[in-house]
């Protein structure tokens, strides 16, 4: 009970350190989701629309990677970015950029797999009309992505949720450095282990509130769009 009221005081009191952690978490997760979307959405559309040798194998792999263990992704990115790794010279390890890369790798298969399913279903519906209209391959992809925009909003949210709630990956590649790479989830893990429950609880409250708020806003946008576009 005491921890709860202390947590609320921290949140409502506008604690600067706490809100710096919140801001960094948001920047990292939103950036990672957008970066993953740049690759995941076109990849999903490609897998939905183009038949090529090895496509089924890639679809299975992408689907399987939706359940990638975050710590394994963290380890792989750590090895890539570590001083002795192939990308070590970039000096990205233990920076927010490394966290963005790791989270993007985690989120990308989710976006690709869900996009593939959405676009494949829509293509089954649109195939005859678009073929009869002589719509070319690139225009088809753009049309399907646009017409599936409301479903893809939900897909993006699923990706953002995965990124925002993730702890293992950012802990490994970010290092949980105070004031530099500490996010809400890594801070919650650390503060809980230290016994500082009010801060952990406060961050937990903010994290859940943010996810609910983002989802509510996206739901509102989707609903308004559906009413307008049918």
């Amino acid at each position: 009970m005491h921890e709860g009221s202390s947590a609320l005081a921290l949140v409502l009191g506008g604690d600067a350190a706490l809100y710096a952690i919140v801001a960094l978490s948001l920047v990292v997760s939103v950036s990672a989701t957008l970066l993953a979307a740049v690759v995941g959405l076109p990849l999903g559309a490609l897998l939905a629309l183009v038949r090529f040798p090895g496509r089924t194998f890639i679809v299975v792999i992408v689907n399987a990677f939706m359940g990638l263990p975050p710590v394994v992704v963290g380890l792989a990115v750590y090895l890539l970015l570590s001083r002795s790794g192939p990308l070590g010279t970039l000096g990205l390890l233990f920076t927010p950029k490394a966290m963005v890369i790791a989270q993007a790798l985690l989120v990308m298969p989710i976006l690709a797999a869900l996009t593939r399913q959405t676009i494949e279903d829509l293509w089954a519906e649109y195939r005859d009309e678009l073929t009869a209209m002589r719509i070319g391959p690139l225009a088809r992809v753009m049309t399907l992505l646009w017409d599936a925009r409301f479903s893809l909003t939900t897909t993006m949210l699923a990706g953002f949720g995965r990124a925002a709630a993730e702890v293992g990956t950012v802990m490994i590649v970010g290092g949980n450095i105070d004031g530099f790479t500490r996010t809400m989830t890594t801070a919650i893990a650390l503060e809980t282990s230290k016994g500082d429950l009010p801060l952990a609880l406060g961050l937990g409250l903010i994290l859940i509130s943010l996810i609910v708020l983002v989802n509510a806003a996206a739901w509102g946008v989707r609903r308004a769009g559906e009413i307008r576009a049918g």
């Binding site: 005859d128 009869a132 307008r228 049918g230």
Partner: protein, 240 residues
């Protein structure tokens, strides 16, 4: 300005189509010329829809040859099709037409006026901003017609365009089809509705079991069919 090269006559030369080992049409030879509407009639499974889908390139022939104005390959830009259950894009009524105009290569500046013309022709001018998927079945079919006309087609294929509509909506669609035919667009339509065939057809192609049973002027087909199966079909007998 040089007139565009015509896609007519449309000629099927001994065309067959198999899909998953099922023969849909079998050795069809047929010529469709410019002029009054050609209506494909016949029982379910006769191959009417397949013939249209072959012409539009939605089904590939297994054997035989299809030519357009004597050419085997054309860009197909002046052909359009309306389906029995048209799919409305997730846009407004005007957005659906605008999309088709853009696909047909119409410049943005000319689109607004053309959208208005086409919607007026389809009797949908009062529904411009409404989401297309919220229209009634008859309105959707009229929008599909307007969308097809956005391509300025020389040939318009229609696959049972009024099969899902009530009589009032059917009449509205037929009125538009008559106006389209009078403007010089060649209509090629599949229907199971003999009344509709009588009302609209200049020429009848009677199909049976994936083949052409007979092809003749509409009046002649309905008064003196050349085949016993055609006569039975007109009488309303079961033709298998």
């Amino acid at each position: 300005m040089r007139p565009p090269v015509s896609d007519l006559p449309l000629v099927f030369e001994d065309v067959s189509a198999l899909v998953r080992d099922v023969t849909l049409v079998n050795g069809i030879s047929l010529q469709v010329d410019a002029g009054a509407p050609t209506v494909l009639v016949g029982p379910n499974g006769a191959g009417k829809s397949t013939l249209i889908r072959l012409a539009m390139g939605l089904v590939a022939p297994t054997s035989g040859r299809i030519t357009w104005g004597g050419r085997a390959e054309t860009d197909g830009q002046r052909r359009a099709m309306v389906f029995q259950r048209p799919v409305m894009l997730r846009r407004s009524v005007a957005g659906n037409i605008g999309y088709a105009l853009h696909a047909a290569g119409i410049a943005r500046a000319a689109r607004r006026e053309r959208v208005a013309d086409l919607l007026a022709q389809a009797g949908l001018a009062h529904l411009t901003a409404r989401p297309a998927r919220r229209l009634s079945g008859g309105e959707q079919q009229r929008l599909a017609l307007a969308r097809a006309l956005a391509r300025d087609p020389e040939v318009l294929f229609l696959d049972e365009p009024t099969a899902s509509l009530d009589p009032a909506a059917t009449k509205a669609v037929e009125d538009i089809l008559r106006a389209i035919a009078q403007s010089g667009v060649k209509l090629v339509m599949a229907t199971h509705d003999l009344g509709q065939a009588r009302r609209l057809a200049g020429e009848i192609v009677f199909m049976l079991r994936g083949s052409v049973g007979e092809q003749s002027g509409a009046e002649r087909f309905f008064t003196a069919p050349a085949t016993p199966e055609g006569a039975a079909f007109i009488r309303g007998d079961l033709v298998i």
